[in-house]
C-alpha cells in the first residue's frame, strides 16, 4: 500500500513535470512573441527589448525553465517597479500581462471552475446513469427510445446552442432564473446554486448521452451474465437486478469517463464559462493562450494536471472498491 502510494506520488510528480516541459516546448513553437504581446500594440523595439529582459524572455529557454522550477521549489522575487514582490514557493511566476502571481489568479478562479465541474458532474451522472439504467430496464420500449433520443439531441447540440437556448428560455423569456453570475458558495449557498443551475444543466445535457449510452450498453452486457439469473430466480425485482447487480458491472467505464471528464473540466469548460459569464479557469486559459502568457498557461496546465491525477487516482481506487478482484497496481 505504501509502495503503491509512493509509486502514484512519483507518477504524479512526473506527470506535472512533463506537463510543464510540454507547455514550454509547445510555446516555443507556437506563434506570437510574448514580449510584444505583453508590451502592447505600438511598442518600439527598445521597449520590447526592455520588456523581454524584464520577463527574462531573452534568456535561453532552458534557463527560463530552470528559473521556473526554482520558483516552484524556493519561490522567487520580482520587481514591481517601485518595490520587490516576493512570490512564495510554490511560485508559478507572475503573469506576463499584469504581473499578478499566477497562484493568485488560479486561486481566484478555481472555486468557480470547481463549482461548475463538480455540480455538472453530479447532474450528468444522475441524468446519464439514470437514463442509461432506465433504458436498460425498458429495453426496446417507447421510454427508452424517447430517453435515448433526448440525450442524443443533447450531445449532438453544441453547448453554445443549448446554453444560449437555456438562457433565452429561463432567463429572458420566463425569467425564472437570473442571468448567471458567480456567487461564491461561502457567501450564499442558495444563490450559488441558483446561478449555477443553468451552466450545470447545459454541461450535463452535453455529457449525459455519453454516460447514458455507456451505462446502458455495459448494463445490458452484465445482464447477460450468469449471476443475474440467480437473482431473477430468487424473485428479486427486475429494477433491483438492474440497478444493484447489473449496474455494478457497468461501473468501471463510467468511473473512468467521469474521472477523465472531471479532470479535463478542471482545465476549464471554456465555452460554458464564457457563455454564462463565469470567471473560471477556462476563460483565463483562453485569454492567456491568446496573449501567450506562458506562466499562466503553465499554471493552469499544472492545475489541470493535478486534477487529472487526483481524479484518476480516485477512479483507480473506486475500481477496486467496485470490483474486489481488481487490484491496485
Amino acid at each position: 500500500m505504501t509502495g503503491y502510494a509512493l509509486r502514484r506520488l512519483g507518477g504524479a510528480l512526473v506527470v506535472l513535470l512533463l506537463l510543464t516541459v510540454a507547455v514550454y516546448a509547445l510555446f516555443y513553437v507556437a506563434p506570437g512573441d510574448p514580449a510584444k504581446l505583453a508590451c502592447g500594440p505600438r511598442c518600439n523595439p527598445g521597449q520590447i527589448q526592455q520588456v523581454r529582459e524584464r520577463l527574462e524572455l531573452d534568456a535561453p529557454l532552458l534557463t527560463q525553465y530552470l528559473h521556473f522550477l526554482q520558483g516552484l521549489v524556493a519561490g522567487r522575487d520580482f520587481s514591481s517597479g517601485t518595490t520587490v514582490l516576493h512570490c512564495d514557493a510554490p511560485c508559478l511566476g507572475l503573469s506576463y500581462q499584469n504581473s499578478t502571481p499566477v497562484t493568485e489568479l488560479l486561486g481566484d478562479r478555481l472555486p468557480v471552475t470547481a463549482s461548475l465541474a463538480l455540480g455538472a458532474m453530479v447532474l450528468w451522472l444522475l441524468l446519464g446513469v439514470g437514463t442509461g439504467l432506465l433504458s436498460a430496464l425498458r429495453r426496446g420500449g417507447t421510454t427508452e427510445r424517447v430517453l435515448t433520443g433526448l440525450t442524443l439531441v443533447g450531445t449532438a447540440t453544441p453547448v453554445f446552442i443549448t446554453g444560449l437556448l437555456l438562457l433565452m428560455v429561463f432567463c429572458a423569456y420566463l425569467q425564472w432564473l437570473p442571468f448567471p453570475t458567480y456567487v461564491p458558495l461561502s457567501e450564499d449557498p442558495e444563490q450559488w446554486a441558483w446561478n449555477l443551475l443553468l451552466p450545470w444543466t447545459a454541461l450535463a445535457l452535453l455529457e449525459s448521452a455519453k454516460y447514458a449510452r455507456l451505462t446502458r450498453a455495459s448494463t445490458l452486457e452484465t445482464l447477460a451474465e450468469d449471476h443475474i439469473r440467480t437473482f431473477r430466480a430468487y424473485g428479486v425485482r427486475e429494477r433491483s437486478v438492474v440497478t444493484r447487480h447489473a449496474l455494478r458491472g457497468a461501473l468501471p467505464p463510467v468511473i473512468a469517463l467521469t474521472a477523465l471528464d472531471l479532470g479535463t473540466m478542471f482545465g476549464g469548460a471554456m465555452l460554458t464559462e464564457t457563455l454564462f459569464g463565469l470567471p473560471g479557469i477556462g476563460q483565463l486559459l483562453v485569454h492567456s493562450v491568446r496573449v501567450v502568457d506562458l506562466p499562466v498557461v503553465v499554471g493552469v496546465t499544472l492545475g489541470t494536471g493535478a486534477a487529472v491525477v487526483v481524479a484518476n487516482l480516485v477512479a483507480d481506487i473506486l475500481y477496486t472498491l467496485a470490483d474486489r478482484r481488481v487490484a491496485l497496481t
Binding site: V15, E221, G249, V289, T301
Partner: protein, 347 residues
C-alpha cells in the same frame, strides 16, 4: 467401463460445415435487423449524397461558393430574404445569411468533411484508445504506469495550446482533411483508452483469460481474442457518441487555422456560425443540426445493433419477426431437432 473398439486417434470426425461461421452469423443477424439495415442505409445514403454533391448541386443549378447578394437583406444583418431562410425553386434549402450562398449545396459539400471526420477521426480515436487501453490494462505494471501517466499528460495539456502550436509546425500544403482526422483523432482517444483500461482490469481476472494464457496466448492474443469481443460493447457505444463532438471539433480547429480552408463547407462550421442565428433564421441552424443529429442517431443505432449482434448471449434474446412467425418456425424446427436426437441416440 466400455472401451471403444477402434482407437480414437484413427477416427477422423467430420469437420462442421453446415453451421455458419461466427462472422457470417453476425452478418446474417445484422441483415435481419430492421434497425441495423435502416441505420446502415442512412449512413450509406449520407456518404452517397456527399460523394454525389457536385451532381446534386448541378441538378439544383447551384454551387456551394457563389455569393448571392441579392437574396439577402443587407440592412438587416444579411438575413435571407423570403420565408424559411429563403427557400425557393432555385435554392431548395434556402441560402446562407450574410453571403447568400446556396445551403443545399453547402450541406452536401459539408457532408464530405464532416463524414470523413466522423468516420476517420473516430476510427483513429477508437484504434489508438484500444491499443493504449489494452496495453495499460493488460500489460506489466510498469507499462500501465507509463501509459497512464502519458494519458494524464495528454488530458491535462490544453488542446488549444497544442492546436495553436500545430498551426506553426504543420506545413501549409499538408492535406487538410488528413490533418483534421489526425489531430482530432490523436487528441481525442483518451476517453476510449480509459474505458478500455477500466474494463480490461476487471476482465483480465476472469478464468477464461487465465485459460487462454495457459493455452499459450501472449498478451496480444489474449487482448485480441479474449478481451476485444468483450470490449466491443462499450467501445462501439462510446464511439457512436464521440461522433458529434468530433464533427463540432473540426469547426473550432478551423477557427485556429488548422481546419479546412474556406470557402470549403463543413457541418461543424455551419453550425458554429449559425448559433446566433437560431431566432432570426432558424433554418440555418436546423439544417446542419439536423444533419448532425441524423448522423449521430444512425451511428448510435448501428452501434447498438452491432453490439447486440456481437454478443452470442444477447442473440438468443433477439426477437426476429412476429411472435406467431417465431412459434411457427420453432415448431417447424423441432422436426430437425428430433432428427438430430435420433441420430444421437443411434450413436
Amino acid at each position: 467401463m466400455s472401451a471403444p473398439e477402434e482407437t480414437p486417434a484413427a477416427h477422423v470426425p467430420p469437420v462442421p460445415e453446415v453451421t455458419p461461421h461466427q462472422r457470417d452469423a453476425v452478418w446474417r443477424r445484422l441483415r435481419q435487423r430492421p434497425a441495423a439495415v435502416a441505420s446502415a442505409a442512412v449512413l450509406l445514403a449520407l456518404v452517397l449524397l456527399a460523394l454525389a454533391a457536385p451532381l446534386l448541386a448541378a441538378l439544383e443549378g447551384q454551387d456551394p461558393t457563389t455569393y448571392h447578394d441579392g437574396l439577402i437583406d443587407s440592412a438587416r444583418g444579411g438575413v435571407p430574404l423570403g420565408p424559411y431562410g429563403g427557400i425557393s425553386g432555385d435554392h431548395w434549402l434556402g441560402v446562407e445569411p450574410g453571403t447568400g450562398r446556396d445551403l443545399f449545396a453547402r450541406l452536401l459539400y459539408g457532408a464530405r468533411v464532416s463524414l470523413l471526420i466522423a468516420l476517420g477521426a473516430t476510427a483513429v480515436q477508437v484504434l489508438v484508445g484500444l491499443v493504449v487501453g489494452l496495453a495499460a490494462g493488460l500489460g506489466h505494471r510498469l507499462a500501465d504506469q507509463v501509459l497512464s501517466r502519458f494519458t494524464e499528460v495528454l488530458t491535462a495539456l490544453p488542446t488549444l495550446v497544442i492546436a495553436i502550436s500545430l498551426t506553426a509546425i504543420v506545413p501549409a500544403d499538408f492535406p487538410r482533411p488528413l490533418l483534421l482526422v489526425l489531430v482530432i483523432g490523436l487528441l481525442g482517444w483518451v476517453g476510449t483508452s480509459r474505458i478500455v483500461r477500466a474494463r480490461t482490469l476487471a476482465l483480465k481476472k476472469l478464468d477464461h483469460v487465465a485459460a487462454a494464457r495457459l493455452g499459450g496466448s501472449g498478451p496480444l492474443r489474449v487482448a485480441r481474442r479474449e478481451l476485444l469481443p468483450a470490449l466491443a460493447a462499450p467501445v462501439i457505444t462510446y464511439a457512436a457518441v464521440l461522433v458529434p463532438g468530433n464533427i463540432v471539433a473540426e469547426a473550432s480547429l478551423s477557427f485556429l487555422g488548422i481546419g479546412v480552408t474556406p470557402p470549403t463547407a463543413s457541418w461543424g462550421q455551419m453550425l458554429s456560425t449559425a448559433t446566433t442565428w437560431f431566432r432570426a433564421d432558424p433554418m440555418y441552424v436546423l439544417l446542419p443540426a439536423g444533419c448532425l443529429l441524423v448522423t449521430v442517431l444512425a451511428f448510435t443505432v448501428l452501434g447498438d445493433v452491432v453490439r447486440t449482434a456481437l454478443d452470442p448471449r444477447e442473440r438468443s434474446r433477439l426477437r426476429v419477426g412476429s411472435r406467431a412467425a417465431r412459434t411457427k418456425r420453432i415448431a417447424a424446427a423441432t422436426v430437425t431437432a428430433d432428427a438430430t436426437r435420433e441420430k444421437e441416440a443411434a450413436v
